[in-house]
Subunit: 194 residues, 4 copies
DNA sequence: CATGAATGAGCTTTCATTCAT
DNA sequence: CATGAATGAAAGCTCATTCAT
């Protein structure tokens, strides 16, 4: 691994553990085995490394992955949603540090960088909303919901995992996303009237 | 309002806006109309004010309020849950600054203080879990769920609101908690087989 | 002398000796017998102390002093000029550090502060120009000169002293300003044709 | 232009614009189109480039040029002085950056280098003093002046131009040196008694 | 010749905290 | 009670310089 990546990795874990502002460049450098001056050889400022981390995580590959699911019309909306929830929970568990930074480091970026990240985030959410919309239009899902609130509910359920889920613990992402899916999709489905 | 409370309020809003570490005692003092030296008359350290805020929010009144609902056996588990979700969303919207500090300021406290807060938080969650358990035992709710995951899903849905809900915006807490309740409780209910 | 003044004095002499940028706040503080933190108790930034020095020197008392000479019509323009040159040289020799900062520290100030200082400087020069103009109008001085160039020549002659005059050396300000006056005023006077 | 000269030129203009200490080797290198490492191939340290600039300007050609004037005995002392003042003002206007560095960069050199430069500067001034001495000895100039003060007055007048003269402005060096010459030489001449 | 990675010392500034008054 | 002077540690960052390639 090259020095630049060592610095990125060191920063990633420290930002996750202690937060952006509580992490000093001193610590990042030490963690990467470089001098403080060395840090600035690769990143013009502390803020830039935060942005680099945001970008490296919220890469388009994630968007592509979920888009592929959303466009696969061999699947029903409910099945799509199940897969998306799987993907979401799995990604969160496997990339906890990135997720924490993604959601809580945003406010430490400059206006224009925030805009860039927020746009990507919104394109991401839109894919979920679209699938829910499909389910409603097909008559599978209840039609008296505000799609926006529903999607926020879904993201809350999934994203909150980083607050309580111990990646070293016994629960697997699969168990969790199964429960989430059943709960959420059943909640969404129209009741089958007797 | 006495000086101590003025300091607490000033700190509360600054911690919410800028975060604990990004807020200086200088600013807190100015916001409260005291000198920097004055601050230390009321709180032995910056950290103590954070703890004071945590305690003042997670006071037992909240616990009492939701316990009263949980113990009111005129209500079915589903009805109880609806009321609890209402309470949760409403509390979050009306006390956003406290909530933010409650969830994200925790890591800035010392070990022993963290323990005190976490215990209260767990007693709170236990009330929700108990109601869900009642619903399962009564045969209303599905019985193939891990209660812990279900309650985490519920809290995620509700707590995440502070990440997206604009208290000045057009959506009312009522709208949101209604959607959340319907979604969640329907998801929980056993399907009525045809 | 109070702490603030000690800091100002320490800075004044260091800025003179080594220049603004080559002087660290560390050194200023040490020279004043304060901690580095103490410096910032009195001045919000390094730049502010430079401005404070500029202002404390280019106070209006200087302007008033030379204006009094310029307006005293018991004196001929030549006599006024002699007195002004005396004042100029004397002030420069007695306040060398201030003068150096006044002329060479200007570029380190922010735009708006530069403007404030430059205005005062121009009001100062205008008084000299006015006296020269009087001499021309009275027919004492040559009338084929650009007053602006003449006044710049005068200031060059006088101000350059800080580059070569050793205040501890044997030459007195009086000697120097006498030579300057005779040289300059004779050069200005119309030749008495034979 | 070879790389070494490109570096020198880049440094010259940056030192003039921003001062020696405010200019980084980074900037000099960029301005010259070399890498930072490349800089150190041509100059062992930042200070050496300053000295190189001093030397390259205060080269002996200037000394030779004015010496030629001083030794040309077809000219009267007054005529010599006029030509010297012309040369001085013209050189200053055409080489402002060098002049600034020459006068204000001196303090950033080491003791021994300062000595070398100061000696050259003094040989330069001595030529002016010699011409003034000739004028006195020939009975043209007043004999009650300290030659040293007079020559400093002359240099002050001429050198100060870099503080106020805009090379892009409307005034030509010729206009200025004419005024300076008339002013100074008339001031120096004995009055023609009626 | 030339590069750019890497260093270490130093800079300005912030800030929680102490303490004499 | 309350102030504000004063401190010391640490922060983010700059920069001249060295050196392996």
């Amino acid at each position: 691994m090259n020095t630049r990546d060592k610095i990125l990795e060191s920063a990633l874990h420290l930002f996750d553990e202690k937060g952006y502002h509580q992490t000093s460049i001193q610590e990042i450098s030490e963690g990467a085995g470089v001098s403080k001056g060395g840090f600035f050889h690769y990143f013009p400022s502390k803020n830039d490394i935060l942005f680099a981390l945001q970008e490296s995580f919220c890469i388009d590959s994630h968007l592509n992955n979920i888009e592929k699911v959303a466009l696969n019309d061999d699947l029903s909306p409910a099945e799509k949603l199940h897969k998306l929830i799987d993907y979401e929970v799995y990604t969160h568990v496997k990339n906890r540090p990135n997720v924490v930074i993604f959601y809580h480091g945003l406010k430490n970026l400059s206006e224009d960088k925030i805009k860039i990240i927020k746009e990507k985030r919104d394109r991401y959410e839109e894919i979920f909303r679209k699938v829910i919309r499909q389910g409603i239009e097909r008559g599978d899902f209840k039609d008296d919901f505000d799609i926006n609130i529903v999607s926020k509910a879904l993201f809350g359920m999934c994203n909150w995992t980083y607050m309580w889920l111990d990646p070293e613990g016994p629960m697997t992402p699969g168990q969790i996303s199964d429960t989430f899916s059943k709960l959420f999709i059943d909640g969404l489905h129209k009741k089958r009237e007797a």
